[in-house]
Each structure stands twice: as structure tokens, then as C-alpha cells.
């Protein structure tokens, strides 16, 4: 039978743990240049030389003593799940702080392999590390690696196997030695436990148990006798050293680290090139006065680019899909009407409406992944910290909010890195107001009907409205409920890194793919349900169907908002499940008759040719679009309405359309987000409160907006 080796991948945040696993196992675990990308344990497997090696990617930690929510995941895993091996990933350009953790990990008495990652960046900084000496001093093989250049991958695997096979031959404790007196205190504590409760020594790695009890960071069950004894020892130590034991032990560990560095780091550089580059960029991006304006310009550019770059591809997809619908319709011309209606309208139409806007998503995600990969995201947190402190939050909360513009679900999980529980709840309640990619597709559709001349502006205004609502809610909640005052903000600012094209494309593709899959599965399901509900009893008009009648009853509540129709109501219901299905549902409920077999026919080969040619034309369109942006080219935009567009144009006024979008923006984003909130906050209460807050805000804002716009339009 194959032997399974369980390898826990542990290290400081942002050292390349996930990237290294990806390089080893060929997985696509999310990577990003800021601290706290991984907040959940993620597994990856590889077979190597007859072994099944099981990697567990864990959230980054600075220490095993301090425990925020995501750090707890890592530490609990190490202590309770007893991995066979720890793969300690180290950022070689930042040895001192990284080695602090390494020393602490030795206390867990688990065999260790060390990856000296980011080895490729060392050259730039002119540092030389003696990795062999390193291995000796740390009781564990230390291997230079680079996840970026695929360096050291096999060596890591070989050493994991070697270490696994010599498991019992290791003596972990000899590498962490405090000064004699502290070791004596540890020994006294051990003797005391041995005499009173020897069982406890069996439950934990011994060294970890003793040091963490003495440091006061142990949070498992302890008999009061031991606690009292430890407290007495602590008092004694403080009398002797005039320092508390925790500080003393941290200093001791740093002393060990310095000692190792003295013997292994060969050359200290004079010019630290790559760091200088980051420092220079920060002088611009974090500039006292320019920093914030630059940030806002970047945000604005993101929207502009999202639309400019995607428009030609949206047009191309639109054409392709309506041609496809013709081809299929033609193909089905002898089938019964209901089947044709179901396939072309319900399925193809539905999927089509959503697919058409994937280029918008893709461009948005490309830009977001550039922000994530470059390290700018931590700078945004830095710049926004002062502002966030107004309602008791810190810049750290800004990162999940920013991620929310991609998708709210991972954003909710990203709140795990926030230390204070109250700040975390408040941040999670703000996230649903951040307009995600799925909502963007609906905006894009409506804007292309009603606001062709101000597309960017209208969508930008919606995003701003979401942010504005979140802020008002946060201020109110904080004033009357949370009353947060003393938050703090400590965040590492990683060096800037140039994300590779591959990284950006892959990242965006993964997200677009999951959007399509999500949309695909939901659309099919909702299409089937809605198709049936709008066709029962058989033969009646859609609005007299069961769904039509029920939705009609409910729709009165939307009357004051300008869209009190049963169709709009139904679409909003579907949108509660997922915003991906709003457009397809609209297609289902707004389109009245069964499509006729069109006269204009198209052959399959013609279709294929149009599709390919159209794709290349889209690139030409792209340059035109960009040219037009800068006023270089005048371009006439010809609008071709598809069926749904025509209907929507008749059913909504610009005012009611905008009001509809505001509602769509602000009410609960999707079921997945609701569940994420429940899971992350561990409470049904907050989940319900979140949904209520969103509905109320949506209703109030739409009401105001509609009645205001009605005056002018």
C-alpha cells in the first residue's frame, strides 16, 4: 500500500506558501501579494516515488502564541491533527522575522523541512545565505526554493520523504535553548506537572506545553494547581529580571535567531535594490497628499477600462449568440412549439443574456488581480485607515470590502483576518453593499438600453451609492450598537511585485469560469421552474399563470419604487438566489410569445465564419474604443436591440430603471453570501439582521431615488 505523508505548510503570511504548493502539486490555490490571502486550510496531493504526499496549505502566522481567527486554524491544526511533517516556508529576504516562527515551531516537536523561498529575489538584494549551515543550526534540512522559477521543487519532495523515514531520529529540542535560568524554570514546571498531573504531558508536545504555560498563551484546559504554580514562577522571574516572562522569551528567541543569522548570512548588501524600488513607488502611492487622489483615480480608471476594453467583445458575443439562437431555432423548426420555446427562450436565451456580459467580468477581474498581485491592495488599506477609523474600523477592514467588488462570498471569509470580533461583524455587514461582478452584468444590460451616453457614469454612481450606503449603515450601527473606539491597525506592507500575465489570466479565468458554472446551473434550474410556473395552468397568458398572479399580489410593495410589475418582482426573487439569474429570468418572464421560425436563416458554416471573423474584428473595435476614449476617433454607435431589450425599453422609464438597479444593488446579493455570513459570524441572528438591513436600505434608497428622478425625467 502507498504510504501517505501529511505535510502541514506553515510560515509567515505572504511568504509564498500557496504559490509553492501550486508549483509542487500543480494546483491553483489562490495567491496574492498581501498578507491573509489564505484564510482556510486547503489540501493538495501529489504522488512521488511511491508516496502519496498530502499538503495542507494553512493561513500565514507570525507566531504560535497570538491567536486571531485565521491563526487559530493553523495552530489548532498543528496541535490537534498532528501532521507528519511541517514544511516551514520562509521568505529568504526577510529572515529575521521568519526565523522567529521557525524557532517557535521547533517547540511542537514535529519533524520539519524548511523552504528558503523567494530565493530568486536574494540575488537582487545581494544577500548570500549558507543553506547547509542553516540546516545544521535549525535541526532541519533547509532548501532554497522559488515558487516563481520552479526552483528546488524535487529537492523539497526528496527531503520530505527522507525526513519522514528518519522521523524518530530527530532531536528537536536541542535547537531551541534558552539561557540556563529560564531552562531551569521550565524544568521546575515540568517536574511539578509530572508530580501532580502527569497525564497532561501526554496530550501536548512537551516543550510547547511548558513554554506556552509559562508565557501565558496556553489556552487548553489546565488544572488550577498548575496555573497557580506557573503564576508563582512568573512572579519569581519578574523579580529577578524586572521583565515579564513573555517579553523575556520573545527576546530570547530573537537572540537565537540573530545568532543563527550571524553564522549563515554571508554578505550584507550595501544597496538593497528591490526594496528601494518599492520604497520609491511608495513615495508616490503613499504620498501625504497625492496618495488618496491617486487611489481615487485608479478606482475611476478601473471602471473606465472595464467598459472600454470589454465593449467590442460584448458586441461580438451578442452577435454570436443571437446567430446561434437562429441556427438552433432553424434546427428545431419541426419540433413542438413548447420545446422550441423552452430551449431557445428559456435555456439559450437565459444563458445568452448572462454570457454576453462575461467580457465585462473578465476585464474587471484582470484589473482586480493586478491589484491583488502587485501589492497595491495593502497600500489601499493604508490610505483608507484614517477614514475607516471614523466608524471604528481600521484599514484592515478595507481589504475584504475591496475584494467584495469581485465577489461578496470570498470577501466575507476574508474578514477572518480582522482581530476584533466587533470590527469583523461590522465589516461583514458592509460587504453586501459592495457591488459584485454578477450585479455588474445586470447594470451593463440596463445601461446599454437606457443610458448609452453615460454608461460609465451611471454605473459608477451605483457603485458609489453602494459604498455610501455601507458607510451610513456602519456609522449608525457603530453609534448605536457596536460603539467601537479602540481599534488598532498593524499591517505588513509587502514589496511591490509585478504580477505575471499568466497569473492575471489564470486568476480571472478561474473566477469567470465559476461565474459561468454558477450561472449555468442556476439558470437552468430557475428557467425550468419559472417556465413551468408561468405556463400553469396551460394555455393562459403568462400574467394569468400561478407565478404571475402571486407575483402580482406582492408587486404592490414595489409600486412606490416605480417597478411594481409582476415581472420585475419575479426577477428580484430570482436575484435573491443569485444575481447571475436576474437577466435570464427577465428573459423568461418578459418575453411574451413563442419566437417564430425566422425568415433570415443562417447556415452552420456561415455561423462559424462570422464567429471567428467577429472575434478578430473585436480587437480592431478595441483599439477604436480606446481611441475614442481619448478623442482620437469618432465612432458611431449603432444600437441593435435584441428582443428583451425592446421589451425592457417599453416596460421601464429611465427613472424606474435606475430605481430598479438601485434596489438590485442594495438588497441581499445572493444566498451564497447569506450563508457565508452565517458561517463566518457563526450566528443566525447576524445573518437575519444582515438580510433585513439590506432590504430596508434598498427600499428606502430606491424610493428616494425614484421619486427624485421622477421630477426631472
Amino acid at each position: 500500500m502507498e504510504k501517505v505523508i501529511k505535510v502541514a505548510v506553515v510560515g509567515n503570511p505572504n511568504v509564498g506558501k500557496s504559490a509553492l504548493i501550486n508549483a509542487i502539486a500543480g494546483t491553483n490555490i489562490k495567491v496574492g501579494n498581501w498578507t491573509g490571502v489564505t484564510v482556510e486550510k486547503i489540501e493538495a496531493q501529489i504522488e512521488y516515488k511511491g508516496f502519496k504526499i498530502h499538503f495542507i496549505d494553512l493561513p500565514g502566522i507570525y507566531s504560535i502564541a497570538n491567536k486571531t481567527a485565521e491563526e487559530k486554524i493553523t495552530i489548532d491544526f498543528l496541535i490537534n491533527q498532528k501532521p507528519d511533517i511541517i514544511l516551514n516556508v520562509i521568505d529568504s529576504t526577510n529572515l529575521k522575522r521568519n526565523l522567529y516562527l521557525t524557532i517557535q515551531l521547533l517547540e511542537l516537536e514535529i519533524p520539519m523541512v524548511i523552504a528558503l523561498n523567494m530565493w530568486d529575489e536574494l540575488g537582487k538584494r545581494g544577500i548570500k545565505i549558507d543553506s547547509e549551515k542553516f540546516s545544521k543550526l535549525l535541526c532541519a534540512p533547509a532548501i532554497p526554493t522559488s515558487a516563481l522559477r520552479n526552483l528546488g521543487i524535487n529537492s523539497i519532495l526528496d527531503n520530505i520523504i527522507k525526513t519522514y523515514e528518519n522521523k524518530d531520529g530527530f532531536n528537536f529540542s536541542k535547537c531551541e535553548q534558552f539561557e540556563t535560568q529560564i531552562e531551569d524554570y521550565l524544568k521546575r514546571l515540568k517536574n511539578f506537572i509530572e508530580q501532580t498531573h502527569p497525564g497532561i504531558l501526554e496530550l501536548y508536545p512537551q516543550r510547547y506545553l511548558l513554554t506556552s504555560i509559562l508565557e501565558g498563551s496556553f489556552d487548553g484546559y489546565l488544572p488550577s494547581e498548575i496555573k497557580e504554580y506557573a503564576d508563582r514562577l512568573k512572579e519569581e522571574i519578574e523579580k529577578v529580571y524586572h521583565k515579564d516572562i513573555r517579553a523575556l522569551m520573545i527576546e530570547e528567541r530573537y537572540g537565537l535567531v540573530l545568532n543563527i543569522l550571524k553564522q549563515t548570512v554571508k554578505e550584507k548588501p550595501l544597496e538593497e535594490e528591490s526594496l528601494n524600488f518599492s520604497l520609491a513607488l511608495d513615495r508616490i502611492f503613499l504620498h501625504r497628499y497625492l496618495g488618496l487622489p491617486i487611489f481615487f483615480i485608479l478606482v475611476w480608471l478601473t471602471f473606465e477600462m472595464t467598459f472600454t476594453f470589454s465593449t467590442p467583445f460584448v458586441d461580438w458575443l451578442d452577435n454570436t449568440l443571437s446567430n446561434l439562437s437562429l441556427v438552433v431555432n432553424n434546427y428545431l423548426k419541426n419540433s413542438p412549439d413548447w420545446l422550441r420555446s423552452f430551449i431557445t427562450e428559456g435555456v439559450l436565451g437565459g444563458v445568452g443574456f448572462v454570457l454576453v456580459f462575461t467580457p465585462v467580468l473578465f476585464t474587471l477581474y484582470i484589473i482586480l488581480s493586478f491589484l491583488e498581485g502587485s501589492g497595491y491592495i495593502a497600500r489601499a488599506a493604508f490610505l483608507m485607515d484614517r477614514f475607516m477609523s471614523i466608524f471604528g474600523l481600521s484599514g484592515k477592514s478595507f481589504i475584504p470590502l475591496l475584494l467584495g467588488f469581485g465577489c461578496n462570498v470570498p470577501a466575507v471569509y476574508a474578514t477572518r483576518t480582522i482581530d476584533s470580533p466587533k470590527e469583523k461583524i461590522l465589516t461583514a455587514l458592509m460587504i453586501p453593499f459592495m457591488s459584485c461582478g454578477a450585479r455588474l452584468t445586470v447594470f451593463a444590460f440596463f445601461v446599454s438600453i437606457f443610458f448609452t451616453n453615460h454608461r460609465g457614469l451611471v454605473i459608477f454612481s451605483l457603485y458609489i451609492m453602494g459604498i455610501f450606503s455601507a458607510i451610513v449603515i456602519a456609522i449608525l450601527l457603530n453609534k448605536f450598537y457596536f460603539k467601537l473606539e479602540h481599534s488598532y491597525f498593524i499591517l505588513e506592507l509587502p514589496p511591490y511585485r509585478m504580477p505575471t500575465l499568466r497569473y492575471m489570466l489564470l486568476n480571472s479565468w478561474i473566477r469567470v469560469k465559476s461565474f459561468i458554472i454558477e450561472a449555468g446551473s442556476f439558470i437552468f434550474a430557475t428557467s425550468v421552474v419559472i417556465w413551468f410556473l408561468t405556463n400553469i395552468p396551460f394555455g393562459v397568458k403568462k400574467e394569468d399563470s400561478i407565478l404571475g398572479k402571486v407575483a402580482k399580489e406582492i408587486s404592490v410593495i414595489f409600486e412606490p419604487l416605480g417597478f411594481g410589475t409582476w415581472q420585475a418582482t419575479t426577477s428580484l426573487f430570482a436575484g435573491f438566489v443569485a444575481k447571475e439569474v436576474v437577466l435570464s429570468t427577465m428573459g423568461n418572464v418578459y418575453m411574451q410569445e413563442v419566437p417564430q421560425t425566422q425568415e433570415d436563416q443562417i447556415t452552420v458554416s456561415q455561423f462559424a465564419k462570422d464567429t471567428v471573423v467577429g472575434f478578430f474584428n473585436a480587437f480592431i473595435g478595441l483599439s477604436e474604443e480606446v481611441g475614442q476614449k481619448f478623442g482620437l476617433i469618432e465612432k458611431e454607435r449603432e444600437e441593435v436591440d435584441t428582443g428583451l431589450m425592446e421589451v425592457i425599453r417599453d416596460e421601464f422609464t429611465p427613472a424606474s430603471a435606475y430605481s430598479f438597479l438601485v434596489f438590485l444593488l442594495l438588497y441581499t446579493p445572493c444566498l451564497a453570501t447569506v450563508f457565508a455570513i452565517r458561517q463566518e459570524l457563526g450566528s443566525n441572528r447576524w445573518m437575519i439582521i444582515s438580510v433585513l438591513i439590506n432590504f430596508t436600505t434598498a427600499y428606502i434608497m430606491s424610493f428616494i431615488v425614484y421619486n427624485f428622478l421622477k421630477i426631472y425625467f
Binding site: Y62, A65, R97, D282, F382, R386, P494
Partner: protein, 82 residues
């Protein structure tokens, strides 16, 4: 002699940490991030309107709020008081 803290100092100065007078959990956090007595740090950046500051701790950069910086007592790199 007056104690000087990190928050009082201007951009571009290099100093050494003398002690940290902050609540214990916060102090331990900073300690474990390498801000221990004797560590040299450099103040790199100031955000406007009383926002956070960016410092360099050995090989890496860290953002802190002014309030925390007030609790970090520093001295000149050669060990003399400020």
C-alpha cells in the same frame, strides 16, 4: 531626560527601539513582529490627517497607527537618549 516616541519623529529618521509601553497583548504582537528593544527602525512615510505611518523594521515594512507609535519609546541608533 525626556522620552521620545516614534510618533514625535519626522520622516526619514533612523532610530532604535528602547521600550514599548502599550497594552500587553499589543506589545507582544509588536514584539513578535520584531519590534524588540534594540531593533533599528526607520520612519518612511506619514499619511495625511493623522493617518498611519509606515516604518521599516530590518528587512520589511510595517504600517502602524500614530496611537501605537506613541507607545514606542525610541533612542538614537548609537544608544544615547534623544
Amino acid at each position: 531626560m525626556m522620552k521620545r516616541c516614534l510618533a514625535d519623529l519626522g520622516q526619514g529618521l533612523k532610530v532604535k527601539i528602547k521600550e514599548i509601553n502599550l497594552p500587553k497583548d499589543l506589545r507582544d504582537k509588536l514584539y513578535e513582529l520584531g519590534l524588540i528593544p534594540g531593533q533599528e527602525i526607520e520612519i518612511l512615510q506619514d499619511a495625511p490627517l493623522g493617518g498611519p505611518i509606515k516604518i521599516r523594521v530590518g528587512d520589511y515594512c510595517l504600517a502602524l497607527r500614530r496611537k501605537e507609535a506613541k507607545g514606542i519609546v525610541v533612542e538614537e541608533p548609537d544608544g544615547k537618549g534623544y
